[in-house]
Subunit: 132 residues, 4 copies
């Protein structure tokens, strides 16, 4: 993979802490760590500003005995159309299911489907994780 | 489903905003909304305090052309053993894959696998979402 | 203070956890706890949607030996005009100062001054806390 | 100020986005931006792991007409002793006051005073911002 090298000036104290962190987290190297924190910073900003296409996962925990919950969750995904990349379903317990839905789209659209899912009767937890 | 009823006193201004929010988000009813925010509050606290078994999803975005990335990601999941409930794999583009891993365990253990995954060479984004 | 009473239905398991949390946190009563989590939910949403006047605090940690840092920080506050409610200055160490600025305004405006402050040379940390 | 220079390799696409972000945010230079995101990463981790002395601000919004609120808030600050660096008080409206308290200490201690303040009768919002 092609890379470009830049020189960065850090205060000695910060560099020392950074080296300690990398070691503790068993990071591949400094460039990987810097790249990761920069990517996170850029994607966090992009989400807040609402520009560009984002990728996110929505995790919902719901009681599948609740009448209509599964139907409504499936309907909402279909309404979102091509924005839904894939979903995964896990049986957590006798009552509770975890459904994880990977989505892409504008932050407005992703927020809308996430809000929609969280308000479905039977859904107990709804967590949105913006990936990039 | 069996429920218990409690009486809650709210300032008129807060009640008005709450009613507005419920309407705007098309929430089933007030009890569902109150239950959801309470559940989120309880699980957030549980995570920070580090008590009990949590359920979370870890979403990683990585370049699958990067030598060893997939192997290392798979190895880490196997090391975590029964803590991994399931995982889902999505081809985002020619280079990028999104892998979503549903896990359960103590917050310490979940943080550890999440940190491990984020430091794998080739992993660009790693997002942890605590569900409950 | 005038209050309005509403009845809320909670699942027994959630009610039990809620009661435990209230006790552990030494909360005044259930209504206070429910009010607080509802207020937080409403203000978080308001911030993300970008509607209405928000109140926030911006905490910056900076090296006051850095040429111009204080001037630039003060200039930015003056540019923000009436949006700045007050500020507090704390000498943390020989080098580092903590300045906390209470602001009000739209989420866009608050984000703008926060971004401006974080990019000033000498500012090491900039943290925005949305209050309501 | 003495600095140390390190070389960092970034993918061309990431470097391009990073340059765009710096320009948009009017950042002093690349090293400042990299330093800031690294500092935030390090302090976030330190908070979660609960090691070392942290600096934080706690912002509370409360109704000062509520009997005892101010007394209780002041008591809690005194109990925290030297952990409280300074506080600032702002009259937001006829009813509401904003109090911002700068604190230092372990994450456990800071969380404890923050939890204590949030449970005081009359306190409507309590927001903890970890600075470093």
């Amino acid at each position: 993979m092609k890379v470009e090298r830049i020189a960065v000036s850090l205060e000695p104290e910060l560099l020392k802490k950074f080296e300690g962190k990398i070691k503790q987290r068993a990071y591949w190297n400094r460039s990987k760590a810097v790249s990761d924190v920069l990517r996170e910073w850029i994607s966090r900003d992009a989400w807040e500003v609402g520009k560009g296409e984002m990728v996110a996962t929505i995790s919902i925990l719901y009681n599948h005995h609740m009448h209509d919950a599964l139907d409504r969750i499936t309907d909402l995904q279909h309404e979102f159309g091509k924005g839904v990349l894939a979903s995964m379903h896990i049986h957590l317990s006798h009552d509770d299911c975890l459904e994880v839905i990977a989505v892409k789209g504008s932050s407005q659209k992703i927020r809308k489907i996430s809000d929609g899912l969280s308000s479905v009767r039977g859904v107990k937890h709804c967590k949105l994780a913006v990936i990039r």
